[in-house]
């Protein structure tokens, strides 16, 4: 489904007229964000299509400044009456919002970096071929091991999206972005006990995805946990696989925003310039990484995207800013003013988080551990890792490490510590860095000493 009638909201000329209309209606300044996407989502089950979803989506978000206060409104109706209503609501919202000296729009900078996230090869494969990719993924998992009971979900999805931004301060830009992914959720069974495993493959064009490898990975992840049981509690080294490390980094990422710091919600407040992690840890926010799903020439309020060091060789370098939090702190925006969709105001969020450091072969890391656990899944990271207090306690699945060897699969076990002790306890980084798409994180396996493993 591609054709549609009406104006293209990712055309700057169309947005210019909305900015003019908002100012004519009384806005001091105005900024319009236009978003459009054409997307597909294919779900396969038992070798057949279970669901095929095709979508066209577009909408506008209008931010106005009026007597020092912000007002925001959105609409999916981009015709004349829809836009009139949009302007009217944004101004009405500004009228009941308190003035804020830091509420500002981005000023035009020195141009945007040449970040190219558009890939015309997204449409190289037909719908039938994309269905085939999902089928191949499911088949690979089922064929890999007889203990794979079923693949509950196999999904192929892609999107061709466009974004445009225009403001009365002269910000003006647009870009297109393409991405696609495969995902599956595998159930393996042994003696009536079920274990699960997931895998993703992410790219900009479908022919670049590896269905076989993705299916096998999820099957392997589920099967290696079969026979899992609890273990006695102990203190030791935990090796977080990339999927698990990524979910911890997402918690760190939100604690490293200026928004969290300024609102007293970050354990990193006042630690700038001090060692917060082991010297082998370097963490960046990179909004320009060619492979990053969150890469773009500019953020969702018009600031150029860039690389921002957060932790270098263990020392906290700084925080992530949007225009508002930067003004409040007397800094400049780092290009991290992002919105979930045209329905939301920008807020400070990481783009692509990248964990770097000296790499050790993953097998060598395990071989060097006397008593520990390879953590393959964690549940409850969102609620169990507290970015304010630093408390960390999550449920995990994994495999016990004894004398350098992987031994007993584990379940109903908890892993706990506190976030700063964990960062300082990083003893090795693997050579297996990969992109994990929940958030957008490039991360290897991470070995952390001094973790409490809670069992029976």
């Amino acid at each position: 489904m591609s054709a549609r009638e009406g104006p293209d909201v990712t055309a700057a000329e169309h947005l210019d007229r909305i900015v003019e209309a908002a100012q004519a209606a009384g806005a001091d300044e105005a900024e319009v964000f236009g978003q459009r996407s054409v997307s597909r989502r294919i779900k396969v089950f038992g070798g057949d299509v279970e669901e095929l979803d095709q979508a066209v989506r577009q909408g506008l978000g209008l931010r106005v400044l009026q007597a020092g206060a912000v007002g925001y409104a959105y609409t999916s109706d981009v015709t004349g009456p829809g836009v009139e209503e949009l302007v009217c609501r944004a101004l009405a919202h500004a009228a009941v919002t308190d003035p804020d000296e830091h509420a500002l729009l981005a000023t035009p900078g020195d141009g945007y970096p040449p970040v190219d996230v558009h890939d015309p090869r997204l449409d190289d494969l037909s719908i039938e071929q994309k269905i085939g990719l999902a089928r191949d993924t499911e088949r690979a998992a089922l064929d890999h091991d007889p203990r794979v009971k079923l693949v509950e979900d196999t999904i192929y999805a892609d999107a061709d999206a466009g974004v445009a931004l225009v403001s009365s301060l002269g910000v003006r830009g647009s870009y297109r972005e393409d991405d696609c992914y495969l995902f599956l959720y595998v159930l393996a069974e042994l003696d009536g006990a079920v274990e699960t495993g997931i895998a993703y493959d992410v790219g900009r064009y479908p022919a670049g995805l590896d269905a076989g490898a993705c299916g096998i990975e999820a099957a392997t992840r589920a099967c290696r946990l079969l026979g899992a049981r609890a273990c006695p509690s102990f203190k030791g080294t935990a090796v977080l696989e990339p999927y698990v490390a990524a979910s911890v980094l997402n918690v760190l990422g939100s604690a490293l925003t200026a928004e969290a710091v300024q609102k007293g919600r970050s354990l990193f407040a006042r630690l700038e310039g001090t060692p917060v992690a082991a010297p082998i840890v370097t963490l960046l926010d990179d909004g320009t990484h060619p492979q990053g799903l969150a890469s773009a020439p500019f953020d969702d309020e018009g600031t150029a995207c860039r690389r921002t060091p957060l932790i270098s060789a263990g020392v906290l370098q700084g925080f992530l800013y949007d225009v508002r939090t930067a003004h409040k702190a007397g800094r400049t925006s780092t290009g991290n003013g992002l919105r979930g969709s045209y329905q939301a105001l920008p807020s400070v969020r990481p783009t692509n988080l990248v964990l770097e450091g000296p790499a050790t072969p993953a097998a060598q890391i395990v071989a060097g551990i006397e008593h520990g656990v390879l953590v393959t899944d964690a549940v409850g990271v969102h609620s169990g890792a507290n970015p304010v207090s630093g408390e960390f306690s999550v449920g995990i699945s994994g495999i016990l490490i004894e004398n350098g060897r992987l031994t007993q699969p584990l379940r109903e076990v908890t892993l706990s510590s506190d976030i700063l002790s964990m960062l300082k306890g990083v003893v090795a980084l693997g050579d297996d860095a990969r992109w994990v798409p929940s958030g957008s994180v490039l991360v290897p396996s991470v070995a952390i000493e001094g973790m409490s493993i809670g069992g029976t």
């Binding site: 549609r4 669901e51 409104a73 959105y74 009941v96 699960t196 007293g264 609620s383 207090s389 109903e412």
Partner: protein
């Protein structure tokens, strides 16, 4: 609260008069779009037309800093062909957009003889099911702002250690029209309001947070300044109580789950496993267990999408099926699953009114509405007094579960030690760990103090409003992950 400042809505909908909201698309176009969807095969076609207006307001740092809102509208066309579902949606709410979506699903199917469309009957609607006395869109925005201020002040007045207060107000009106090739036509007009408060308290090196909310499928009559103050005080008291908390010990002990928020545990650890999509795929521990004991004999449990004015309620589900109260556990015995149309068909059951979707952008799937364990006859005090040593979970932070195994982990945002039948000291950093059926079987005391809380539930990338509830109850033994 009086209804004086509420702008009156037109008189209750009368089916078929043509005067009600129809998203600008007439009945003839809907009928022909169903036909176009079925031109190249398929056995069921459905159109979902939606318009949604929202307003959200936030006060933080003593300032009303965000007021946002707008309108989203569009249409989704679903075509079912045996086990296959084709879906197309567009936010172009017009006949042209509707026909394009219908042609898209027809082209995607493209492998059979044209299906037939039953003539659409009168449009059913039941405006009296969840009455709205004061439509929130008619209430002056300054009055909503006053709620935020009242909540902020009440939370700060609760104690000098309160350092941050966030009060949020949200309202939404969702109008939908659902028609399908079997001749059903349903209109629903849903209004929801909700007030939430988050409090941060600080003492020395310790920072704690507290949260409380109040919401319903109801008008602005739910909320006034005193309601805002109650919600704010409850949130503040949680944060303040936990300032003195010591790290929770890890281990196994009896757990008393308080009423209200404790229901999240049943929702996650059991409810998701009762949703018929997991049953059909054999991906739930409750599959094949209808009629079997899955809980202690004192446990009755329900899902109720018809609960009057409930946050998770509606007159119809998002497939046009009338919502209902469904008993899922009867005296410990599993007696029902939660169905949408498609999975009910697969399992030879009737749809239970649990086919829900986030918006026109989503395919309906089986979802909970308001799920709860029913009241017993003990009192909360009796339960605590009967527990020599245990853990009292007053408020849960949220958690995760794997429906396939029923294994879950929950963070406890407000927890206490029980010693000698008395609640003694607050504990922080505790998590509750276990699996659904194990825990249900270990429930050994249930009180009569039922309470239901409002929340949002995510599944398959779709968020829908749900209610979760329970009375105070005790689980004879449960694993606690702690940091002590």
């Amino acid at each position: 609260m009086s209804g004086q400042d509420g702008r009156e809505r037109p008189a209750a909908d009368v089916a078929g008069t043509g005067a009600e909201w129809h998203g600008g698309i007439d009945a003839g176009a809907l009928h022909s779009a169903l036909g176009r969807a079925l031109t190249r095969g398929g056995d069921f076609a459905e159109i979902y037309v939606e318009e949604r207006d929202t307003l959200g307001m936030r006060r933080e740092d003593r300032q009303v800093d965000q007021v946002t809102g707008g309108r989203e509208s569009g249409v989704g066309v679903r075509l079912c062909d045996g086990e296959r579902t084709y879906y197309a949606h567009s936010d172009e709410l017009s006949e042209a957009g509707l026909f394009r979506a219908a042609d898209t699903v027809a082209a995607a199917c493209g492998r059979g003889a044209p299906g037939s469309v039953v003539d659409l009957g009168g449009v059913r609607s039941e405006p009296g099911r969840h009455p709205v006395a004061v439509p929130p869109e008619g209430v002056a925005i300054e009055r909503k702002r006053a709620l935020l201020e009242a909540g902020d002040e009440a939370a700060r007045a609760a104690g000098g250690e309160v350092v941050q207060v966030t009060v949020s107000y949200g309202e939404g009106r969702q109008r939908i029209l659902i028609v399908n090739s079997e001749g059903d036509a349903v209109r629903d007009d849903r209004t929801r309001v909700r007030l939430m408060t988050n409090v941060v308290a600080h003492r020395g090196d310790v920072i704690q947070t507290g949260y409380e909310s109040l919401g319903g499928s109801i008008g602005f009559e739910l909320l006034d300044e005193s309601a805002a103050e109650r919600v704010a005080r409850a949130a503040a008291q949680k944060a303040l109580a936990m300032l003195a908390a010591s790290p929770a010990p890890a281990g196994s002990m009896p757990v008393v789950l308080a009423n209200g928020f404790g229901g999240v545990l049943f929702h996650e650890a059991c409810g998701h496993g009762l949703e018929a999509d997991a049953i059909v795929k054999g991906a739930s521990i409750y599959a094949g267990k209808l009629g079997e004991m899955v809980a202690a004999p004192i446990v009755d449990a329900y899902d109720d999408g018809s609960l009057p004015n409930g946050w998770g309620s509606a007159a119809f589900d998002d497939e046009g099926v009338t919502t209902a109260r469904t008993k899922v556990i009867d005296g410990g015995r599993l007696c029902g699953y939660l169905y949408d149309r498609r999975h009910a068909g697969r399992l030879g059951a009737s749809p239970s009114g649990n086919g829900r979707r986030q918006s026109f952008r989503h395919v309906p799937i089986p979802r909970m509405t308001t799920t709860y364990i029913d009241s017993g006859d003990a009192t909360p005090d009796e339960i605590i007094a009967a527990t020599p040593r245990g853990f009292y979970a007053r408020s849960l932070a949220g958690g995760q579960v794997e429906p396939a195994s029923g294994a879950f982990v929950f963070g406890v945002s407000e927890g206490y030690l029980i010693e000698g039948g008395r609640i003694t000291r607050p504990l922080r950093g505790a998590t509750l760990i276990g699996s659904g059926i194990d825990i249900l079987n270990r429930i050994d005391m249930i009180a009569a103090d039922m309470d239901i809380k409002s929340g949002m539930c995510g599944k398959d990338g779709q968020a829908v409003p749900v209610g979760t509830g329970q009375p105070t109850l005790r689980i004879a033994e449960m694993t606690i992950g702690g940091t002590a």
